[in-house]
């Protein structure tokens, strides 16, 4: 998996778009390099030279350079001059710029992002009404999905998409029976499967997992164990934004004080 895919799947950065500005041949080198490694949108602006000249001037861009803008569309976060026409050598660098400057979006929401996929592709005839038509797998609700089917039990293993039957059945080499949804070309596109995969790997939750302030060890509660974890992070110089409770960019005694106050304050 490339850095750009990790950016979307593991870090939750859905709101990233790349705009190639320049001539048509961008698609043949930079574009193809990018699309091989990402499911993020890519658009190419091949406006006339005088327009691109102005845009270059607007951003002060040189030839073969990536200018990374914040979500306000004007603040330049960073710029990377490239020696190659492909993006591969720069993925890690671009990834770091985004991660350091842009908060990740919330986790994938089952109700608004996953259930509509099943509604559009799976529940019209087959996986509905208790799933009696297709092995007892009912995909009309989160509860039914997680219950699985009568033959195999759970079809989703939270956190493990690779071994989840649902994902295996959506692929072109299902462990049993036919690929789903049945009948090409109704197979799901790679981006849609990737979204379901990411949701499972996030834990297959019914709602996005909201971080609990002070829950440094991410166990769902705030207690002395979080203080221990935070202390270890400070001693090992392991910065994690989750533990930076006062948001000053450093982990130190002030974060421990804040954490103690959270615990004492209930």
């Amino acid at each position: 998996m490339s850095d750009f895919q990790e950016l979307l799947h593991e870090e939750g950065y859905e709101k990233v778009i790349i705009i190639g500005i320049g001539a048509d041949f961008l698609h043949d080198n930079f574009g193809e390099s990018f699309t091989e490694h990402s499911i993020l949108p890519l658009v190419l602006d091949t406006s006339p030279d005088y327009i691109n000249f102005v845009l270059r001037g607007q951003f002060g861009a040189t030839w073969k350079e990536v200018v990374i803008l914040a979500a306000d569309g004007t603040t330049i976060l960073d710029r990377i001059v490239m020696d190659f026409d492909t993006i591969e050598p720069y993925e890690e660098q671009l990834y770091q710029v985004i991660v350091e400057n842009y908060p990740s979006t919330s986790s994938i929401d089952y109700f608004t992002q996953i259930q509509p996929i099943f509604n559009a592709n799976c529940t019209s005839y087959c996986h509905t009404n208790g799933g009696s038509y297709q092995g007892g797998l009912d995909l009309t609700s989160y509860e039914n999905l997680m219950a699985g089917d009568s033959d195999h039990g759970p079809v989703i293993i939270p956190g493990d998409s690779e071994n989840s039957i649902l994902i295996q059945k959506l692929g072109d080499e299902p462990p049993f029976g036919d690929q789903m949804p049945q009948n090409d070309p109704s197979y799901l596109d790679p981006a849609t499967i990737a979204l379901i995969t990411a949701w499972i790997d996030e834990g297959a939750l019914p709602e996005p997992d909201e971080a609990l302030p002070g829950d440094v060890n991410d166990d769902g509660s705030v207690n002395i164990l979080d203080i221990v974890q935070l202390t270890n992070m400070i001693l090992s110089d392991d910065y994690q934004e989750l533990a930076d409770l006062n948001g000053d960019g450093n982990l130190n005694i002030l974060d421990i004080v804040q954490l103690v106050n959270i615990i004492l304050g209930g």
Partner: protein, 56 residues
């Protein structure tokens, strides 16, 4: 002639100081919005990577 030049300068100045907006087709076949036009400012809360290639 002078008017045309003035108009040209005004247009370029306007472009230079306006925020970059676009409606362009998503050409990544792996993207969920592939084939559809992606708009800014609809994508105004997106981080954007502007790649300036060598021009042909």
């Amino acid at each position: 002639m002078l008017l045309n030049r003035l108009l040209y300068v005004v247009i370029l100045t306007g472009l230079a100081f306006s925020q970059y907006e676009y409606s362009l087709e998503d050409v990544n076949p792996n993207s969920a919005t592939f084939g559809t036009n992606v708009w800014y400012p609809d994508f105004s809360d997106y981080i954007t990577l502007h790649y300036f290639g060598t021009q042909g």
